[in-house]
């Protein structure tokens, strides 16, 4: 497992994944850098840079066109730079849609899901990985299933369930659903992590008279905290990006999330192109900010649990 799951301070036996991989690297690096670069290396660099340019190109186009007036867009087309900086598209988008509301809905749903799903994952994996309850391989299998089930399978029964409970168009319908879906993954990941949790620490805590709950709260959670924060960031983003089930459960204009608001705008025939582009750009901004803040966590995190 390539997580930074353990912490460097932890005196763990060498055979567990609870150690840091920092120390290596470096020394030889400077040497190789000095050797003249071969043409092959320049070609490879050119290829990967070109690839990256292709990837960002659509987003750059978005940026250029979000600041054009409708008239400018109509005459100059999407490939030219704007003749004058115009905020008309952005203003129209802002005036005609309740974006702050959608933004708040998205933030509220994703944050609550991230926190609750991590807590639930910790409880589940505590029973599986530390408690080693009977039949745990079957239980893990059930949680694994939650990762495999296609969402359109959940859609109809859950729609009826939330309808009966009066939770349709209520953020809690989406929250409950995704707490379960995300925690299924979290349980799966954390169970194997806790399964190899250093026994000495647990025993030491027990000798000191810690109860089960106390060991979990004051010993286990602090040690696996780095993994938990990675999970939380991921649950937040995954929930933020969800589409199908929120589309099914949230129908009033007050309850829309950011992706749903944009999709609705896209579906309306009379939507002006510059308004749509401005809306797309504004919808991307929170994601980009989040990406910049958590870039390191993200790139480190998606490898968490991938391979041991």
């Amino acid at each position: 497992m390539t997580t930074s799951a353990g912490s460097a301070a932890l005196p763990a036996p060498a055979s567990t994944p609870y150690k840091s991989y920092k120390a290596k690297q470096r020394p030889t690096r400077e040497k190789t850098k000095k050797r003249p670069k071969t043409p092959m290396e320049w070609i490879l660099l050119a290829i990967v840079v070109l690839g990256a340019l292709i990837i960002v190109f659509p987003i750059v186009l978005l940026l250029i066109n979000a600041f054009k007036s409708p008239a400018d867009y109509a005459t100059s087309g999407p490939l030219d730079l704007p003749q004058a900086l115009s905020f008309e598209g952005i203003r129209t988008f802002w005036a005609e849609n309740n974006f702050p509301r959608a933004l708040w809905n998205s933030i509220f749903i994703s944050s609550v899901v991230a926190v609750l799903a991590v807590i639930l994952s910790v409880f589940n994996s505590f029973a599986i990985g530390i408690g080693r309850v009977k039949g745990r391989s079957w239980i893990v299998l059930i949680f694994l299933m939650a990762n495999l089930v296609p969402q359109e399978m959940l859609f109809d029964p859950l729609f009826k369930l939330y309808d009966d409970l009066g939770l349709l168009s209520n953020p809690w319908s989406v929250i409950i659903t995704f707490v379960v879906i995300q925690s299924a993954f979290g349980t799966y990941l954390l169970s194997s992590l806790l399964g190899t949790f250093p026994k000495e620490i647990l025993e030491a805590a027990a000798v000191d008279g810690a109860t089960r709950w106390r060991s979990l709260r004051s010993v286990i959670v602090p040690v696996i905290k780095p993994t938990l924060s990675v999970l939380m960031v991921f649950f937040f983003i995954w929930t933020w990006n969800e589409f199908l089930l929120p589309l099914a459960f949230l129908n009033t204009s007050d309850s829309l999330t950011v992706p749903l608001l944009l999709e609705q705008l896209n579906g309306e025939r009379q939507t002006d192109t510059t308004t749509l582009i401005a809306g797309t750009l504004i919808s991307i901004i929170p994601t980009i900010i989040f990406f910049l803040i958590f870039q390191r966590t993200l790139t480190r995190g998606i490898t968490a649990g991938a391979v041991k």
């Binding site: 490939l79 359109e152 959940l154 379960v180 990941l189 169970s191 944009l262 999709e263 041991k308």
Partner: protein, 329 residues
């Protein structure tokens, strides 16, 4: 997910824990033995039962019934729905499309991702500086975190038909003649091609980041030594990079294949299954039948079929993985 984000790395069970349930808990006990751990399970089990397990059972059951939905009676249909499914041209076509989706979400991103990750790590990172390689990695990863709905709207705008479309204008500017292709609504080829390009665009960052992290494990001395022995970039790629990150290649293929089989949003947003239902994928078909169809029993049959296929693929993958691990050990 996307995997899209949609893309959840799977962890696997450590082997020794599968041996049986009789092992003691890992904290020495005094207060009431192991049953106390079940308390921690109550919320998790109850919620998974209600939100995941109940719908699965309900769908599987419904696949043997005809049901108009709402307050209508469910009438027992036996195997009718399943027989109809295998004779349904739209369903078969939607599964054929899945092969193309697998190419766009699994095969191309994994292969291209391998080359890019190796180039970024081995060449750019070591010869041109780690900062540049991290920056490029982040750029490739960017589409992964965009909401799929946003990415879909963006591509829908780029691919607008006639002279309005950005891509059409771009091609007109290059070729000098008027290009007016109706990318999404014109023909099956261009519509499916567009969906595939969107998928590749979204998916490419995922293998790159995973593979680059895997390469951190490789001892840099290994590269240094092979370089001194005169191995060129391609030889190092074949002899060091590829064998080292084989486990990650496996995980990436598994997770993206599952995501591909369940794919929904790109089709929903870009083409709505059109033109003429030609870009249907099973999940979209099931969704559409649930919403617009007259028999929810049939919709449940499609959804159940997707679920069964996903489960089988996951089991096969995990089996093969365990076997290859045993061989290595």
């Amino acid at each position: 997910m996307t995997t899209t984000a949609t893309d959840k790395p799977e962890a696997k069970e450590p082997k020794r824990r599968q041996k049986g349930a009789a092992e003691p808990a890992r904290i020495p006990q005094r207060d009431g033995g192991k049953w106390g751990y079940w308390l921690y399970f109550i919320p998790g089990i109850a919620l998974v039962g209600l939100i995941i397990f109940y719908p699965i059972v309900r769908n599987l059951r419904l696949s043997f019934f005809h049901w108009r939905g709402g307050r209508a009676e469910e009438t027992f249909a036996g195997l009718d729905n399943w027989i109809a499914l295998f004779q349904d041209d739209e369903f078969i076509r939607s599964f054929v499309n899945i092969i193309l989706v697998v190419i766009a979400m699994v095969i191309i991103p994994t292969l291209v991702g391998l080359v890019i990750a190796a180039a970024l790590f081995d060449v750019v990172g070591r010869r041109f500086g780690g900062g540049l390689s991290s920056f490029l990695r982040a750029t490739y990863y960017l589409p992964q975190i965009l909401p799929i709905a946003v990415a879909g709207v963006l591509f829908g705008w780029l691919l607008k038909p006639n002279s309005e479309g950005v891509l059409n204008q771009f091609l007109s500017a290059i070729t000098g003649s008027d290009v007016t292709v109706n990318w999404l609504g014109g023909s099956y080829g261009t519509a499916m091609g567009s969906v595939m390009v969107l998928m590749i665009w979204i998916q490419i960052g995922y293998p790159i980041v995973i593979f680059m992290a895997a390469l951190q494990r490789v001892d840099p001395e290994l590269y240094e030594a092979s370089e001194l022995d005169g191995a060129n970039w391609y030889q190092r790629f074949r002899a060091i990079t590829l064998p080292m990150i084989r486990p990650e290649v496996f995980v990436v293929s598994l997770t993206t294949t599952i995501a591909a089989l369940k794919v929904f949003a790109p089709v929903f947003i870009l083409t709505q299954g059109g033109p003429n239902k030609s870009t249907y994928v099973p999940s979209f078909y099931a969704y559409n039948e649930f919403i617009n169809g007259t028999d929810k029993g049939y919709a449940a049959t499609i959804a159940s079929a997707v679920f069964i296929v996903v489960t089988i693929v996951a089991i096969v993958f995990l089996r093969v993985q365990t076997r290859s691990e045993k061989k290595d050990a």
